[in-house]
């Protein structure tokens, strides 16, 4: 087949022009590498958010209510203090609400003898265990009595257990200092393990919220309220009722924005989708620019290259090469070089992504899409930007090129 012969001639031609091949490959490789890294970061961010949602322990009938205006996990004001136990009571008394669980949250150092660890302290009610359905491996969850008496009882996650009792000592009944208060360990949570993005759900300590208010935070406001509705169908209705209660309790005028925010699985999914779309737009822009640059590099070097090889083209024409043969040969050269750049770029991009993943700076996830994209785009770049030089080479008359 004639086309295969031209392909072979193209490969041999590239072998004789290694410096040009190197420069053209580099031009495309940089573009493809950036594309690969951006896709990996995009996927990584998405994965992180998704397993954040999974780790949230939401059912379709639940939603969370956070103090402070803003959206989802992003709070506008620092340390809002407007979510109160009154709000909790009012929400809990709604007919569509099964459970309403208050939460205080604080990051503190926990100490046992010579070992210490930084961990998240959650003040919650015993309902927590019902809502989260998180098994206890040892001991028991604190109960209503502990709540009433503001007992200094703590349920520890697997990470503080590991850090405070490294020798495998039985933690139950031991006295752990959290902040300036000594708590008795009453239960141990089952280990869940790190999520893919590196979030550690086990790094937590649960204490009765009454104890938290009275002895640890000395604050009367809540970090958030978790609401479980009677059924998924009434979630929407319950959220509306909750909004009305809170706006009334907080004395918000009709033009004021909410000073609280809802977090729901659907809200998170919508947000992820929006983020992904924004990311995709940016991705398309950046990769277009970088591939354009790569393509222009190819075109320029090919134009210089055919000038240098005008003599070769003339000789080929003298001995029977058609215009189409010359076009094919040079088009194969540019497509091949471009795809080589695609491969080099993908490898480069994967290496950079892995380095980013290892240094833990940015969530990164490598998927198969960039490989396919790199293949398609690099081939297309070579074709689009190679056609003009190739046709130019073919259109020289053999009589003139041989002079």
């Amino acid at each position: 087949m004639r086309i295969f012969r031209n392909l072979i001639q193209a490969l041999k031609g590239l072998g004789r022009n290694k410096a040009n091949v190197f420069l053209m490959t580099l031009g495309v490789a940089v573009g493809i590498a950036s594309l690969t890294v951006i896709v990996a970061i995009g996927e990584g961010t998405r994965a992180k958010v998704l397993d954040r949602i999974a780790g949230f322990g939401f059912g379709p009938e639940s939603f969370s209510l956070y103090a402070g205006s803003g959206r989802l996990f992003f709070r506008k004001a620092q340390m809002p203090t407007n979510l109160s136990f009154q709000d909790l009571e009012d929400i809990a008394s709604l007919p569509t609400v099964r459970h309403a669980m208050p939460r205080q949250r604080k990051r503190l150092i926990a100490v046992y003898r010579k070992n210490s660890t930084s961990t998240r302290i959650y003040g919650v009610t015993p309902v927590w265990q019902t809502i989260r359905a998180w098994p206890i491996t040892d001991g028991k969850f604190f109960d209503a009595r502990d709540m009433d008496r503001k007992n200094k009882a703590a349920v520890l996650g697997a990470t503080p257990i590991k850090n405070l009792f490294p020798d495998g000592e039985d933690p139950l009944g031991k006295s752990v200092r959290i902040g300036n208060v000594f708590f008795k360990v009453v239960g141990v949570l089952e280990k869940k393990g790190l999520t893919e993005s590196g979030y550690d759900p086990d790094n937590r300590v649960l204490i009765p919220i009454s104890t938290s208010v009275a002895r640890l935070t000395h604050e009367a406001h809540l970090h958030s309220i978790k609401v479980q509705a009677m059924s998924p169908e009434v979630v929407e209705e319950t959220m509306e009722a909750t909004r009305r209660i809170l706006r009334r309790n907080h004395n918000l005028s009709s033009i004021a924005a909410d000073d609280f925010r809802f977090v729901t699985p659907t809200g998170i999914m919508e947000w992820v989708t929006e983020q992904k779309q924004a990311m995709n737009r940016m991705l398309i822009l950046i990769s277009t620019v970088s591939l354009l640059v790569g393509g222009i590099v190819i075109m320029n070097i090919m134009l210089v290259s055919i000038r240098e090889r005008i003599h070769e083209i003339g000789v080929r024409r003298c001995f029977g090469a058609r215009r189409l043969d010359i076009t094919q040969q040079f088009l194969f050269e540019s497509v091949f070089v471009s795809m080589l750049g695609g491969i080099v770029g993908t490898v480069l991009g994967v290496v950079v992504s892995l380095i980013l993943k290892r240094t833990d700076m940015i969530p990164v996830q490598i998927t198969w899409e960039p490989f396919v994209l790199a293949g398609i785009f690099s081939g297309a770049v070579g074709l689009v930007f190679g056609i003009q030089p190739a046709r130019k080479a073919a259109n020289w008359s053999p009589e003139e090129t041989i002079r």
């Binding site: 004639r2 012969r5 031209n6 001639q9 041999k12 004789r16 003599h311 070769e312 003339g314 000789v315 080929r316 024409r317 003298c318 001995f319 029977g320 090469a321 058609r322 215009r323 189409l324 043969d325 008359s397 053999p398 009589e399 041989i402």
Partner: protein, 241 residues
Amino acid sequence: MSLIHLEDVKKSYSNIGMVTQVLKGVTLKISEGEYVAIIGPSGAGKSTLMAIMGCLGRPTSGSYYLDGEPVDRMNDKQLSRIRNEKIGFVFQAFHLLAGVSAFDNVYLPLVYCQTPPADARIRVREILEKVGLGERMSHSPGKLSGGEQQRVTIARALINQPKIILADEPTGNLDSKNGAEIMEIFDRLNAEGNTIILITHDPKVAARAHRTIHIIDGLIEKDEINENFPEPDPGAERTRA
């Protein structure tokens, strides 16, 4: 029937509005098996005539029949096939591909025809051995002497068993010893029945051909038979312009 038949061929080039007429009406017939020298001073139109005869360019007007086919009306695809199958070029400047082995240089015309690769390789090897380069097939032109390079170009010209060998100043870049060797190859090829057209400005080279065509200022001035030359095959018809 003539192998080459040019009828009132004119060729002009235009450059920034200035039209230069290089060939001003050349009528010429060359039969199969002839050994023709085209001689003339530089600028007389020798190379243009060769380009037209070699199907590298088309005449501005006039007609050209090669082996009975009207070349002046052919498209690029057909012309390329003619160049590939019927014409073997030998150039003064060799025009070998730099950095490519002698073997691959000779192989070049076979890239553009239907010869199966296995046969092609055998043929290339045979022809290189025939021109005395059997030992140097893998050398690139840079590692060959001028005489060896010219022998590679001759091998390349012959590889497709063309009807015509067109040689443009084949000894122009060679010393007298190598030049003589190359001319001997041409003599032998003609004796074997090949049609050879030499373009030269050297009367000594022209004297080896059996027919000399003098070109001056774009026109054939004189077309003569070299008396000393033994008549080749008696059947060959020869027509004068």
